[in-house]
Symmetry: D2
């Protein structure tokens, strides 16, 4: 039951394995009357798709989304929106050597134990390929709330960090380089770092920062569905994510109240924004910003010790086509999940008061 | 609609404001046949309640839970379990000066804008008082999964950190000091730190670490309801939380794959545990551990500039009875939320395979 | 998990057994800013409560609802609304003779088998006492949609039927007699019938008809959550209900399309209304009307053969205080459930189009 | 949001319009390890599909289901099961004359008003074509609970009724005639009746009876999710359904308690079964049986008066390919919805007790 749906009113349910016939989903709760920009949806998918550059996997997928329902003459009808993306380049033979083997820090072992059966081809349902469906739905969500601006970017790769606050960055530059870092100098250092680990047959972690601007006051719900709690779940549900912090984040835990409180201006805006645009779980109109940690990709182009399903030791050889660093391709996924959360709470909020 | 419920099968729905007649909740999905240890429930509540020590608020609440249904002769019947806790010591007059004023970094402004009306007494629904209901439900959840051991503790206050891995700690010492830190030397430094900021009329942030042991393999669901995503949401929904990381967390983002991968032993356990007991969103039987950042309490015993509902500048005087540091009292809340997540996924998992 | 909640956005979750300390519930999704008429809520409860007249049970319950949260100075705040009703007159000793016995056509056997334990006092969770919580929430729902008029009434008792279409009835007369039938002559015959079976120590079934007027066009959702499907579920969930039909109902199954189609007037209204105000699952602005069948109460004041938990034959003696006919007291319950459905879809519909 | 999903744990979400590219759905909550009989799924679809016989529409659809995920080497993996059915024979030009016109007793008017836009081709989302997805999911559900036998059949067409109790029928004969009535004599009369109204360019209503046997004790949930309430919603959500009754149904409303109570045998079975296999909302192990009323199809092969979107009078000419009577093709849909409900509660019940 659990696990394949996200959202309260604007809701995405997905299906699909890495090497099955297709992946896809159903979007519910999109109001009727929205003119869909199909090119914009495809562009988001293109940002995520493999084979984009020298620092991403060389695997190629057309990743063309086909909308099957819910849109009539380019306009949403209020009906559920079905869509699918064919798996065109699934080289299943790449994976037969993994049939009985558990790869370290992958989901092979846990899926086998939980379900008693495992689609071992390309990670099956556990593959990050499913995130393409999130990007499709997120692209629709973005179009539903065009006034809200969502910008994610790579803020670190390994120990290479952007050393500027986000306010000093020009988000229009994020797409100008392969690593999706809006700061050119940092981007170059990050790209060097990724190429370096790639050459070793290794992989590297990184962080993405996301800034959401022009958010209306009042989004998010009390107690369990606080805006940042839902954003956190959204981000933590993305493959390879190990941490989430918003506003002052872990630094805030070291601060005193007198340093941390955001004093109001007369118009209700605040002089500082350590709150990260959210107070009591509800947006206050200031910028929402958060940071997400991604672990290094678990598939290495190196030999690794592991075990097979009987517990016997095996040597895993590095094979297949994989990303040396996941964060550049994860940027559109982060934006998509953020858009899903914001669009959802924007709709839910329509019933907050008489 | 949203916001008052948590859980998929084992589900808690709550109500109640800080200064209303009572707070309470309904627990659904608890299987029939569970013998309830009522004293254990009350003990968990006592750990959370105000007025425990010199470093917590001096406000007193009896915080006695009354179970109203779903339990017959001490045993759960499968029916929904209703419970309530009276608000016995709500000094509502303490808050009349806040009727028209927005406190910095509180939910006053956002609630007023979202709902057009605000229960200004003690923070109303946004008060951390609601977490008492989480503790009640979490105490039941703990009894449902007695084999799973959940231990949270204060791992830092401001810049005072425990400088040991959790494996070096004796969790049975957590309750031996006021700050709920199992390392005595660190505890003493933390208590000093809290007393220091309290004397200034200030507050201080901190972190809590939670370790969950003896977890069966297979808990958590794919894609959107990954075990760590649900744990993250659970923790981020607690008042004042700004960040969540599990396993290697933000440090993992700096690492290489060859350092980060957890190599299997022949029995399926792993030699390291940077994964934090979860792979592909599903528990692998190793220890689950995570860290949560809490910001400093926003209510200061100092004068602060703010605005009223008309946008006029006002000076807020420090009043009321508040905690200088929230983490000691948050320890049982963290455990309760963790127990809710684990018990829920334990039940959901009963239908994973034929 | 399942079973204790009703509604999508405007959602009621309940708890409570017939002879526990209290019953109650939590209403989620009521928009902020609604001025609550508490007397109107209590009046609805009074319509349902036992001991009203010579043809209902002589058992007395004060049935006073206490609101615990979500309402501030008489106005809803958007927070969840908790409420409880004490069980003041639970003569538990009345039921000790039923501890090991299964009453025919009651839920004793099925609850015992399902849960392995049973609160045998007064039917426990299976008692119709829980419907008092529905009436409370329904009374709030009615106040949320004051323009929509919901009128239920007893349309038959045994073989005594009102022989007029609902358009010929004056709903203001429903409350003028004990049986809640707006047609005086039929009411008298029904009352006679009930007194007759009561004298025999017997019980009798009946039907309730409900008419909902001034409904805006557009309520209800496609496919699975059609307005009449949700109304049907709402009604079938009431104790003792065996059937539901709306519009032409079972008679419609005998008709031809040329007789059954409702031809449009130029303003979009229809000349006939065999559709019962709903087309394609969505309200069309015409009157919604439906009919509900209630079986006779299973508790008789006669001796009955039955079995105990070991399968041994026992003779059940007629004891306790029970209704000879359930329909008069069920009228406010039917209205409450209808109000919950309508208010819910009215809120859900706010997001149907841009 | 609402409307496209059905089920609690075993959950179906669907998409698709009559004349779009495809219809399809996602099944969640099917346990891993179920060997799928694909032919059996296709057979169920074939029972529902148009063009089967002289008494159904002559429109043809291949109605071949393609499974896209969640099944690996013929066995379910626990992942969500995506599937789609292409719309191969959608003659969209048939519908251009309906672009601005509201057909009587169809969903044209209500969809246009609710959404401000309408897919007028073949009824769009409101078309009964979506029920093919229910049949697919229901066929999987049937395979999950093979021990439970679900048999639906046509029990009346217009005023032609089977005049025998279901116990006197041989369900293996249901598929031996075009009308799906297991009683040959009645079947012949029904077929004559349908041919008669077809010749007139008219349509006719009917009823379907469904009998569910070998149900374990304990399925269904208390209060709002009673087994019959969920069955009722399931059936009422099928296009053209106007009424639902189970067990004694509307007849029960005329009976006395002494006639209606089902007296226990020593083994817990009952001597009569007016309860219809459900007591207190939970299955008691006896046969579950219910009856559903279908109105006559609204599309006639006769001229009808109607209005266009501006309110002007128009004459609608009978066109297109439609069923003169919906019940024969609805039999597999009823069984599918019943299977969804039963399989769902069977899974939910796994957590009822420790």
């Amino acid at each position: 039951m659990a696990g394949n749906s996200f959202g309260i009113h604007f809701k995405l349910t997905t299906f699909g394995e890495s090497h099955g016939k297709a992946i896809g989903g159903i979007i519910e709760g999109c109001p009727a009357g929205l003119q869909i920009n199909f090119e914009a949806v495809q562009e988001e998918l293109n940002r995520r798709k493999p084979g984009q550059s020298a620092i991403t996997t060389q695997r190629k997928e057309a990743d063309e989304v086909q909308f099957l329902s819910g849109i009539f003459n380019g306009i949403t009808t209020g009906a559920s929106i079905g869509f699918s993306i064919k798996n065109t380049n699934a080289k299943s033979k790449d994976y037969t050597h993994l049939k009985n083997v558990y790869r370290p820090s992958h989901a092979d072992f846990t899926y086998q134990k939980k379900y008693g059966i495992r689609d071992y081809k390309g990670g099956g349902r556990a593959s990050a390929r499913e995130t393409a469906c999130r990007v499709v739905a997120g692209a629709i969500a973005k179009q539903l709330i065009p006034q809200i601006r969502i910008n994610a970017f790579v803020s670190s790769v390994g120990d290479v960090f952007i050393d500027k606050p986000y306010q000093a960055l020009d988000f229009s530059k994020t797409e100008t380089n392969e690593v999706r870092c809006p700061d050119e100098a940092s981007a170059n250092r990050m790209i060097r770092k990724i190429k370096e680990v790639k050459k070793e047959g290794n992989t590297i972690g990184g962080t993405i920062t996301c800034v959401i601007q022009n958010v209306p006051v009042g989004l998010g719900e009390p107690v369990f569905d606080k805006l940042h709690a839902q954003l956190g779940k959204a981000m933590l549900s993305i493959n390879a994510v190990k941490g989430f912090e918003y506003g002052s984040g872990f630094c805030g835990a070291k601060m005193k109240g007198s340093e941390h409180n955001d004093i109001f201006n007369e118009d209700g805006s605040t002089q500082t924004n350590l709150s990260g645009g959210i107070q009591g779980g509800i947006s206050n109109g200031m910028d929402i910003y958060f940071r997400i940690a991604f672990k290094p990709v678990a598939t290495l182009m190196q030999d690794q010790k592991s075990i097979d399903q009987t517990g016997k030791n095996v040597i895993l050889q590095g094979k297949g086509r994989h990303d040396p660093c996941v964060v550049p391709r994860a940027v559109p996924i982060v934006e998509a999940m953020a858009a899903l959360v914001l669009a959802d709470f924007w709709l839910v909020n329509k019933c907050s008061k008489l």
